[in-house]
């Protein structure tokens, strides 16, 4: 197996473990921010020194720098997909709790009036 494959598999595994273990904890929030900073830093570096990408790519045995970029973005998309799905689920549940509370408050008032309680 070439080095690049190992690195990419490790990336996918990290994302999986992240969502299974660390979700919503302080560690996770901090990790996300560090990852974002790294992403920004790498973006700036590769814009200023475009050759870095190709050099890293050939070191990892991936080939062109553009391929490395593609794989990197695929990992980012995967992470983003998971992250949004989990967030969406959480928000839906929170919304349901609010709507439920509101519905019950309203019903207590209305039905109490109807039955003279």
């Amino acid at each position: 197996m070439i080095l690049g494959q190992i690195v990419l598999l490790a990336g996918v595994a990290t994302i999986a473990v992240y969502f299974l273990k660390h979700r919503q904890k302080t560690v996770a929030k901090a990790l996300k921010k560090i990852a974002l900073l790294c992403f920004l830093l790498i973006s700036v570096l590769t814009i200023i020194f475009p050759n870095i990408l190709s050099q890293v790519a050939s070191f990892l045995g991936i080939g062109r720098g553009a391929d490395l970029l593609l794989y990197g973005l695929a990992l980012v998309v995967l992470f983003q997909l998971f992250n949004n799905y989990m967030k969406d689920r959480e928000y839906k549940y929170e919304t349901a709790k609010i709507i439920r509370k509101l519905a019950i408050l309203e019903a207590d008032r209305e039905n109490g009036r109807k039955q003279g309680r």
Partner: protein, 225 residues
């Protein structure tokens, strides 16, 4: 004061819900949750003796059921909580025999099953999918049920208090099974007859929903609630 309350989640059911409520004998109370219907379901329910609880937006059947449970639990006179579909596919005599089981035996939840006898005329494709769902559910939960997606159930107060459903849509049926397993609720299945009318067929969930439910069950197993 009745000790039994019917919990009916309703979404766009204005054409059938009145008859369903009228067919429920006075000895039972009724709580109806209008799940943000686009038609006049809420107004129609308001004209009946049922207690109306209204979601201002549509959340899904599971969420509506949990709202009905929470609302009914506030009344301490209720000992038995009946989950009942709004499309008129359940029979009152089945509810009576389920409550009898509940009263005579030490169980927390009585589940209706279409497959313990052959009285329900389940359409062929639906039958195949449901059987598959049952096998899937029994494998993931370790329980031995014959019909996991039947809307007719009777719970005692303990079971009702422990439900706390999170899945907003049709996956709540699997979630109820999960709760039974997690909390070691004592359960029993009773044969019931489902009346498949043209109306209930048109309102029934698509068989493709099985994929959504299976996904939710596996996802919850792996990631947690």
């Amino acid at each position: 004061m009745p000790d039994t309350v019917f919990l009916i989640p309703a979404y766009n059911e204005s054409s059938a819900i009145v008859e369903v409520i009228h067919n429920i004998p006075e000895e039972f109370d009724v709580v109806c949750v209008d799940d943000g219907s686009k038609d006049d379901t809420a107004a129609v329910i308001n004209g009946t003796r049922a207690q109306l609880v209204r979601h201002c937006i549509n959340l899904g059947q599971g969420a509506a059921l949990q709202t009905a449970i929470d609302y009914a639990l506030q009344d301490e006179d209720y000992d038995y909580f009946v989950t009942f579909d709004a499309d008129g596919q359940h029979r009152i005599e089945d509810v009576r025999s389920m409550i009898d089981v509940m009263k005579s035996r030490d169980v927390d939840i009585v589940l209706g099953s279409r497959f313990l006898d052959d009285t329900s005329n389940v359409p062929a494709l639906k039958r195949a999918i449901l059987k598959l769902a049952v096998r899937f559910s029994n494998t993931t939960s370790g329980l031995h049920l014959t019909d996991t997606h039947n809307g007719l159930r009777v719970m005692n107060r303990h079971a009702a208090e422990s439900m706390k459903l999170r899945m907003p849509d049709f996956s709540h049926a699997s979630e109820i099974v999960t709760r039974i397993q997690e909390l070691n609720l004592k359960y029993e299945e009773i044969p019931v007859t489902i009346i498949y009318s043209d109306y209930s067929r048109s309102k029934g969930q698509s068989v493709l929903n099985a994929i959504n439910i299976a996904f939710d069950v596996i996802f919850n197993k792996v990631v947690g609630p």
